[in-house]
Symmetry: C2
Subunit: 194 residues, 2 copies
């Protein structure tokens, strides 16, 4: 990546020409960033949809029951986990729909419109993915450790499989979040003037 | 905001000159965005530090006690709330340190370096702020509503003040998150070519 050069606001024709010459190279490092963007998006789709599917299928019924009760834990026991499944499915859907725009930036590396569109929506969906991942992580932490002061007991001793499945869903969502951060940083690098 | 124009990669001298002429206007809409950025940053500092302070001072001791127990809830009863205080203080500190860079973009609206620096760090701290806000929100929700399947009882009947204070801290952190999203979108708009 080249260092940033501040062009002072004076009408210097020689400098002006130098600026003009640069876009002649078709593509260059901007094309590389666009291809990287596309590949990272595929990874993020896998992570987001994997997280939604893992969380959505988490369900464990304990082998013992009383006359009135059967002990069962599934993702829809917790509002936070429901929110997680919905949000992660949304994020995955957005990422699939964003692929065509990513392809446009590969074909036309100097087009500003699609990149701007992607960076704005990426920021919004980064926030969504982070919020659902972090809130699910808070619940998973409570399920593992419990909380003494509020007398909430850890449930992972009983619901071991449920806890393992929800934990891996949270990890998968954090992978998607990290990829989103990279996508935004790369788009910002590619947006600046040549 | 002007519409985006794709300059085709051909050596058109007339077009080249048109590109050069634009930066002559000193400032323009980019300066407006930079000033807006500075003002929004001040708001985000207030929201982030307010959230940290509100959460950090939350502490309630119930007026009755047994021989062995005194019922007390404070932010350090919950690991998530400790994380919240630390993260929000960090975000507030970053925002204060980012003010000089914001001022540089006001003075030199066409400088790319400071804007790029700000958009990258803003994205990272947006993720931090969202994660702590959302995880604290998950705990606050549990404190209000409890959870039947895991037998976690709502504690807000007893610890009413504690719940009110933590809830307002969460709301304040979400204000900071929304401001961060706007900051990133505005920086992206200002980063593109003139």
């Amino acid at each position: 990546m080249s260092t940033t050069i501040d062009v002072p606001e004076s009408s210097n024709v020689a400098k002006g020409k130098a600026v003009i010459v640069t876009p002649q190279r078709p593509g260059g490092w901007k094309k590389g960033i666009a291809i990287m963007d596309f590949i990272l998006r595929l990874g993020a789709i896998a992570a987001a949809l994997g997280a939604a599917a893992t969380m959505g299928t988490s369900d464990q019924t304990l082998p013992f029951f009383t006359q009135f009760f059967q002990f069962e834990a599934s993702y829809d026991s917790f509002t936070t986990f429901q929110f997680f499944v919905i949000t992660m499915a949304l994020v995955g859907g957005y990422l699939v729909l964003s692929l065509p725009f990513s392809i446009v930036t590969i074909i036309r590396p100097h087009a500003v419109g699609p990149r701007l569109f992607l960076i704005i929506l990426d920021t919004v969906f980064l926030t969504l993915a982070t919020a659902s991942g972090a809130s699910a992580a808070a619940i998973v932490y409570l399920a593992h450790n419990g909380n003494q002061d509020s007398n909430w007991l850890a449930i992972c001793n009983q619901f071991g499989d449920f806890c393992a499945q929800t934990s891996s869903a949270v990890v998968s969502s954090f992978v998607a979040v990290v990829i989103f951060v990279f996508l935004i940083v790369m788009s910002a690098l590619a947006l600046r003037k040549n």
